[in-house]
C-alpha cells in the first residue's frame, strides 16, 4: 500500500445497498487544519460519505485513512471493535438531531466518554465540562437536562461533547438543518470559532452562505459522485459543471 501523505485520505470509496450504489469511487484528501464543505441534494450520498469516515456506515469498497491509520481495515471482529473505538475517540461527530443523551445533564453528556474511556477523575472531568461548555456558551446551563434546552442550545452542548474528547477531526452532519431559523446562527458562530482555531472539519451542510464564509474547499456531490470541487469563491461564483449550476440556481431561488 502506498504511504499516506494527507491527513484524511479517502481512496476510491464505494458503497452500495443491494443494487443501489450510493457512493461511486470517491477520492478526497483533507489536510490538517482544512475545512471542507460538502453540499448536494438529499440522496446525493454526502451524509453517507461523512458517516463512512468514522465507519458508522461502513464502505463496501475503498479505504479511509486518518493521520496515518487506516480506519476501515480488515480485522477479526473483536480486534476491529477495539481499533474502531480507538479511532472514533479522535473523530468528533455532530448530528442533525443532536443525539444528546436525554437522561444526562449537559455536564454528564460532556464528561461521560472522557471519564469512561480516558479515566478522567471527577474533578478533572468537571473542569473539562466547564471549559468545553464555556467555549460553546453553555456554561450557565451546565446542569440542565436536554429536555430543558432549546434546539440550538442542545446542538451547542453536542458540539462540546464531541470536543471534550479532544478530536483531531470534526464531522458535522447537517448540524443546523433541524433547527428553527432563528437558532441557526448561534450554532454557526460556534463552528466559526472552531474554524478560527484551525480545527480540521468536514461539514455536510445545505447552507450555502455558511459554507462560503467558513470553508476552504467545497465539494458538490450528486448521485454518489463528486461533480465539482474547489474554493468557495470559484465553486459558488463560477461553477464549471451544468449540474452544479442547476443545483445552485435552485438552491438560491429556494432560499430567496
Amino acid at each position: 500500500m502506498t504511504e499516506q501523505t494527507h491527513f484524511v485520505e479517502i481512496r476510491h470509496a464505494q458503497k452500495s445497498f443491494g443494487t443501489l450504489e450510493v457512493l461511486k469511487d470517491i477520492s478526497l484528501n483533507v489536510e490538517r487544519g482544512q475545512i471542507v464543505g460538502i453540499i448536494g441534494s438529499s440522496g446525493s450520498g454526502k451524509s453517507t460519505l461523512l458517516r463512512a469516515i468514522n465507519d458508522l456506515d461502513p464502505l463496501t469498497g475503498g479505504e479511509i485513512w486518518l493521520d496515518g491509520v487506516q480506519v476501515n481495515k480488515t480485522l477479526p471482529h473483536r480486534q476491529y471493535e477495539k481499533h474502531i473505538n480507538e479511532v472514533r475517540q479522535h473523530v468528533g461527530m455532530v448530528f442533525q438531531h443532536f443525539n444528546l443523551f436525554p437522561h444526562m445533564t449537559a455536564r454528564e453528556n460532556v464528561t461521560m466518554a472522557p471519564k469512561m474511556l480516558k479515566g478522567l477523575s471527577q474533578a478533572d472531568a468537571d473542569r473539562l465540562a466547564e471549559e468545553q461548555l464555556d467555549k460553546v456558551g453553555m456554561l450557565e446551563r451546565i446542569d440542565y437536562y436536554p429536555s430543558q434546552l432549546s434546539g440550538g442550545q442542545k446542538q451547542r452542548v453536542a458540539i462540546a461533547r464531541a470536543l471534550a474528547m479532544k478530536p483531531k477531526l470534526m464531522l458535522f452532519d447537517e448540524a443546523t438543518s433541524a433547527l428553527d431559523p432563528e437558532l441557526v446562527e448561534e450554532v454557526n458562530l460556534v463552528m466559526k470559532k472552531l474554524a478560527e482555531e484551525h480545527m480540521t472539519m468536514i461539514i455536510v451542510t445545505h447552507e450555502m452562505d455558511f459554507a462560503a464564509s467558513v470553508c476552504d474547499r467545497v465539494l458538490f456531490m450528486d448521485k454518489g459522485v463528486v461533480v465539482e470541487e474547489g474554493p468557495p469563491s470559484v465553486l459558488f461564483k463560477n461553477p464549471t459543471q451544468d449540474r452544479t449550476r442547476e443545483f445552485l440556481r435552485k438552491h438560491i431561488e429556494g432560499a430567496s
Partner: protein, 218 residues
C-alpha cells in the same frame, strides 16, 4: 352468624406481622423481577441464538401458565431436586421470576424504542457496543419502562397473596390463621383486603412521584 368487627383488635398483632411479611416479600420479589427483567431482556435481544432460544421457551411457559401453578412447581420441584428452601424463599423466587418475564417484555420493547441515534452518538465518542448499551441505551429504556413496571409491581403486591397457598405466613395466610381460631372469615378477609388496598394506594403514590421526578431526564 352476623358480623362483629370488634374482635379485630385482639388479633391485630398477627395481622400486622402478616402485613410486614407481605411488604418484605413484595419488595424482595420486585427487586428480583427488576434485575431479572433487565438480564432476560438483554439475553432475549443480544445473546447468541443458542442461549436465546431456551430463554424464549422459559418466557413462553411463564407467560402462558398461571402463577399459582408455577409456585407449586418451584416449591415442590426444588424439594424434589434436593433443594429444601423455606417456603418464603421459594415464594420470592416464584414471584420474582414470574414478574421478571413480564418486565423483560416491557424492557425489550423500550430498548428497541430508544432512538438509533443514541447508539450512534455513543459509538461515535468511541464507546464499545456494550458500553453504549450500559451507559446510554439501557438507562433510557429503564426510564421509559418505569411507569409500566410500576403497574407490574402493583400487580406483584396483589399476587403475593398466592404464596399463602405454599404456606408463607404473609397477610393472607395470617388472616386465614386468625379465621381458623375465630371463625370470622368475613371480618378478617375484609381487614386483609383493606391492608392490601392501603399498600396499593401507597405504591401508586410513589409511582406518581417517581414518574414526575424522571420526566425531566427523558
Amino acid at each position: 352468624m352476623g358480623l362483629d368487627f370488634s374482635i379485630i383488635p385482639k388479633y391485630m398483632d398477627i395481622i400486622l406481622l402478616g402485613v410486614a411479611w407481605t411488604i418484605g416479600i413484595t419488595v424482595a420479589a420486585a427487586l428480583l423481577s427488576f434485575v431479572g427483567g433487565i438480564i432476560f431482556a438483554v439475553i432475549a435481544l443480544y445473546a447468541p441464538w443458542l442461549i436465546r432460544q431456551p430463554f424464549r421457551l422459559i418466557e413462553w411457559v411463564f407467560m402462558g401458565t398461571p402463577l399459582l401453578l408455577q409456585l407449586f412447581l418451584i416449591y415442590f420441584g426444588l424439594v424434589q431436586i434436593g433443594i429444601d428452601l423455606p417456603a418464603f424463599v421459594a415464594g420470592i423466587i416464584g414471584l420474582g421470576l414470574h414478574f421478571a418475564v413480564y418486565n423483560s417484555e416491557l424492557i425489550q420493547t423500550a430498548i428497541l424504542a430508544v432512538d438509533k441515534g443514541q447508539m450512534e452518538a455513543a459509538r461515535t465518542l468511541g464507546l464499545s457496543r456494550t458500553q453504549a448499551l450500559r451507559k446510554v441505551v439501557i438507562p433510557q429504556a429503564v426510564r421509559a419502562v418505569i411507569p409500566p413496571i410500576g403497574n407490574n409491581m402493583i400487580a406483584l403486591l396483589k399476587d403475593s397473596a398466592l404464596v399463602s397457598v405454599i404456606g408463607v405466613s404473609e397477610l393472607t395466610l395470617s388472616a386465614q390463621r386468625v379465621i381458623g381460631k375465630t371463625y370470622r372469615p368475613f371480618e378478617f378477609y375484609i381487614l386483609a383486603a383493606a391492608f392490601y388496598y392501603v399498600i396499593n394506594l401507597c405504591m401508586e403514590w410513589v409511582q406518581r412521584k417517581i414518574e414526575r421526578r424522571i420526566s425531566v431526564s427523558r
